[in-house]
Symmetry: C2
Subunit: 403 residues, 2 copies
């Protein structure tokens, strides 16, 4: 086990949260390329220097702290949501810093550190790591805009001459990311550690039913073609039919509903709604897609609706590296016996992109109440330290091929 220093780790975490502190609980406001985000990266670069690592910003503004020669890369991101928590991303970066620093001090395995830029997606989804991995093609970067219409190059200009060249991914033997779970599973089941099996794939598409807008007083029920009722029947059908296909880890959500004209006294003629589903296995995602399509077509036919599907957003599931997972599982069992579990990650992470470049793995610690992307986000400090210790144990056990 690498001799990490929990106090120093927690002190660094609290120092980082002071940069862009929201003043509400432990909340932080540090969106990508904001003054607070850049200040945090400058602070982190100094910490890297202090630890004997060489800081380097890549063309996106992702900050690497490099050791010489081949190394394991550890980290996450230090940008936050517009109203973010203190741990989302920051935890993985500071844990990586502590492991790399302690490894360097103790003559342990070589570990480099990264804080990716814009994981929270001001300009897309996991923008910095997506650009580095090639998931986001270089020629598309210039055209990305945030919700206010500011382009990525305009925002990035605030980083000035910090920006350098791309870091060669071949120098890394693997990528390891610790993160808060951002869900309620560990918290509600008393788990201390989650070893991620796979980052789930996502399917997301808008579905539209169009019937007939009518007066809600003068149109008999038998003559209606009510788009909300079509949505209701569709929802009932898929909930029934998914039962034969899903696992307890599969999720699906109708999170957005737009009725037209959306008035008390008008039978709604149109509805557009989002249908999103996530699972760790591509085949299960495909079977669910089939049920969705068949159910929507059945409802449209039975209720006299026209049916349209929006474009499919597809993010493929990413399995975590088997050897790295084993090292994490053994370390978790040593640190918190029987209080850990294998689980999927329902959210995307920088590790999704890293898996294209190198073996990658992830570790979760509990989120109190499952809350994240909120000033109220928190994790017990004892759980943060357990996570750090599991990393310190696992890195010492990582197979030679991955660091």
């Amino acid at each position: 086990m690498i001799p990490v220093n929990p106090d120093r780790f927690l002190q660094d975490l609290h120092s980082l949260r002071a940069i862009g502190a929201s003043g509400v609980g432990k909340g932080v406001v540090r969106p990508a390329y904001s003054a607070a985000d850049i200040e945090a990266r400058d602070w982190l670069a100094q910490r890297m220097i202090d630890a004997g690592l060489t800081p380097q910003f890549d063309p996106m503004g992702s900050l690497f702290g490099l050791v010489e020669g081949p190394s394991l890369l550890m980290g996450s991101h230090s940008d936050t949501q517009p109203e973010g928590g203190w741990l989302d991303g920051a935890l993985g970066v500071i844990a990586a810093l502590e492991v790399a620093r302690a490894a360097k001090e103790s003559g342990g395995p070589p570990v480099s550190v990264v804080s990716f830029q814009d994981e929270e997606g001001r300009f897309g989804v996991t923008t910095g790591s997506a650009a580095w991995s090639g998931v986001l093609p270089a020629e598309k970067i210039g055209a990305l805009t945030d919700p206010k219409g500011i382009t990525l190059p305009e925002a990035r200009a605030a980083m000035g001459d910090r920006l350098g060249g791309w870091v060669d991914p071949k120098r890394f033997t693997g990528f390891l990311e610790m993160h808060i779970e951002q869900g309620p599973l560990l918290d509600q089941t008393g788990g201390k550690i989650g070893v991620v099996e796979a980052i789930v794939g996502i399917r997301d598409r808008v579905i539209r039913f169009e019937g007939q807008q009518n007066h809600a007083g003068t149109t008999p029920m038998a003559l209606r073609r009510d788009a909300f009722q079509a949505l209701g029947r569709f929802n009932t059908l898929i909930n029934e039919r998914f039962r034969n296909v899903v696992t307890p880890a599969t999720v699906w959500t109708i999170g957005h509903v737009s009725l037209h004209p959306n008035a008390h006294s008008v039978v709604p003629g149109k509805v557009a709604f989002s249908m999103q589903w996530r699972d760790g296995e591509a085949e299960r995602l495909r079977r669910m897609e089939e049920i969705i399509r068949e159910s929507a077509e059945e409802v449209a036919q039975a209720m006299g609706m026209t049916l349209a599907f929006g474009p499919m957003l597809g993010v493929e599931p990413v399995a975590m590296d088997r050897a790295m997972r084993s090292a994490l599982a053994e370390a978790a069992e040593a640190e918190v016996p029987e209080q850990w579990r294998q689980m999927p990650s329902g959210a995307l992470h920088d590790a999704s992109n890293m898996a294209r470049l190198m073996p990658a793995a992830m570790l979760f610690v509990p989120s109190i109440g499952g809350i994240s992307h909120d000033f109220a986000e928190d994790t017990a400090e004892a759980d943060l330290v357990s996570g750090l210790n599991v990393l310190a144990r696992a890195v010492a056990r990582m197979p030679a091929s991955t660091g």
Copy 2:
């Protein structure tokens, strides 16, 4: 039968639609107190004078065309929706004008005419007739505003010194209104005339479920409290349970849905939706209310939701006068044998308010495709004339007590 003149009637209808013509089909834009609305009322006042009636505007801007002594009052309204059809309201006014004019010419029964102001509800619901009948208390009128924040007195000022005193309702022996159906029933069943049995009562309230907003990727299905799913289950339940209570004329509608935060990747924590139901019998409305309340409470309990009901909008059902209905039914059978039906009015009309002041009845003619409140609203001219003829027959048959 009063010897009405169908050509003169149709010509007046087309003249009226030229005032505020939308330029799209036969559509009309003549909202209450607009320049076009006032121009139409001035045109109508001149037509009344030509017919030997005495025009009088009341304090709301409703225009009466009076004969001396006791009379039957006939009419509807000449204001329109912001994007209105040419017949909604205008038909009943011009038919009344033709019947009153023909009665006067032929020494028939005394008939007065009215065009109520703001039936379409720029400032409320059937505002002009509600004010005259006392349903809308006088002290509330000054505070009414339209969706842009203009007060009723500000808008009404455009009518200048046209406005006069209240007309004494005691001078009228009854109220008779012809209107387009604004629904598909006559059109789809080949009916030519609908004799209205009752104007339905309306119950309308907003229902809110609040569960827990969560990340749509990281929150397992078993741990969700999804407000949209609560709405879906509620909708399924009431649709099943209403079956034992409703008639083919009963209607219910979820027309407005507001999800929060309404995003693809967030399990919705809150939903507010409108629940509206209409029927001709107060007891049935009450039983439906019970089912709604019980079903919502059941869903809230089963799914861990908090439940809140908004204030109940209640409009009571209004039965049409039995003797006047009989006269209309006999006239319909004489004019279009077996091509007429008794039916409820699913929409509110000025007749709802008139029933508080005097015996009241209504007659429907078909709406092509059931379309109204739309530039595309229309009715075959032959059906308009059938309606006029039924009125002309019925007025001649009206029992002495009602004209």
